[in-house]
Amino acid sequence: MDIPYNVEPRPDTGLYNAKLGIWLFLASEVMLFGALFSSYVLLRTGAPPGTWHHGREFLNVPMATLNTIILIASSVTMVMSWASLKLNDFKKFRLYLGLTFLCGVGFLCVKAYEYGTKFHHGYFPKSNTFLAIYFTLTGLHVLHVIGGMIVNGYFVGPGAKMWRTEPERFTNRIEVAGLYWHFVDLVWIFLFPTLYLL
């Protein structure tokens, strides 16, 4: 049984199903991270003057800047991998998607180092409300990075078989995976100044 508009777009909406689906999912993710950002705002503005700890007290700005650069680079490689498929260049696709995956690994390594140093200095989520929201926001973000990496890893590896049998459908899948990955980058673009710099 074939579901219509899985690959070719529906004429009046101009969309194929998964593209609408992923944007709707991203909308719910905006609300999820938005709720956490809202919590941050409420906790910070509600804190008695002088009791709120600032990011700079605990956090490593250069490391986080590096992570920002890594993630932005990974967004470029992600969209380049999709563009390569559009240009029928499977080898370049694999290269770019592989680089995206590696950037993810890099991001996680930096994060692991960051968390490690914090725990080493006795800074835990329970230490104060700032660290609590820091660990929660970045932790949830890390889980989303890992999720994206699993998907990307699948498409670099066994999932790539579909290119030979259904190239257009496969290209769409990469576009959809890319949209998710860009969103993960987008969240970090806001997380970074909010937690580390303000």
């Binding site: 609300m31 938005g34 860009h182 987008l186």
Partner: protein
């Protein structure tokens, strides 16, 4: 949805690289600006403005939102409205209590 022929993809590729460099510059700017001592409200506005601009570049260019379909725009506009409500009300709540005193 973006046009599929090779030439337009190549043009888009140039845009991707261009945006990458813009984002690098803006990231450096974000960090640099944070070293100036500003009153909190101004610092927040500046930081969010730069982040929003970076975000719009990612959304418009990498996520192809600049030539996306109406349906997607409507979903996102609706989401943004509710997002603003969720961000604004708890903060306005505190302000309202302070004003009341």
């Amino acid at each position: 949805m973006s046009t599929t022929d090779a030439e337009s993809i190549r043009k888009q590729t140039r845009a991707y690289i261009g945006v990458f460099f813009a984002l690098m510059v803006l990231t450096v700017l974000t960090v640099a600006v944070s070293y100036f001592h500003m009153p909190v409200v101004l610092a927040v506005v500046v930081a969010l403005a730069i982040a929003s601009f970076k975000g719009s570049l990612v959304a418009a260019v990498f996520m192809h939102l600049s030539h996306e379909r109406k349906v997607i725009y409507w979903v996102l506009i609706l989401t943004v409205v509710f997002f603003i409500v969720l961000m604004a009300i708890p903060s306005l709540w505190q302000w309202d209590l302070r004003v009341a005193r």
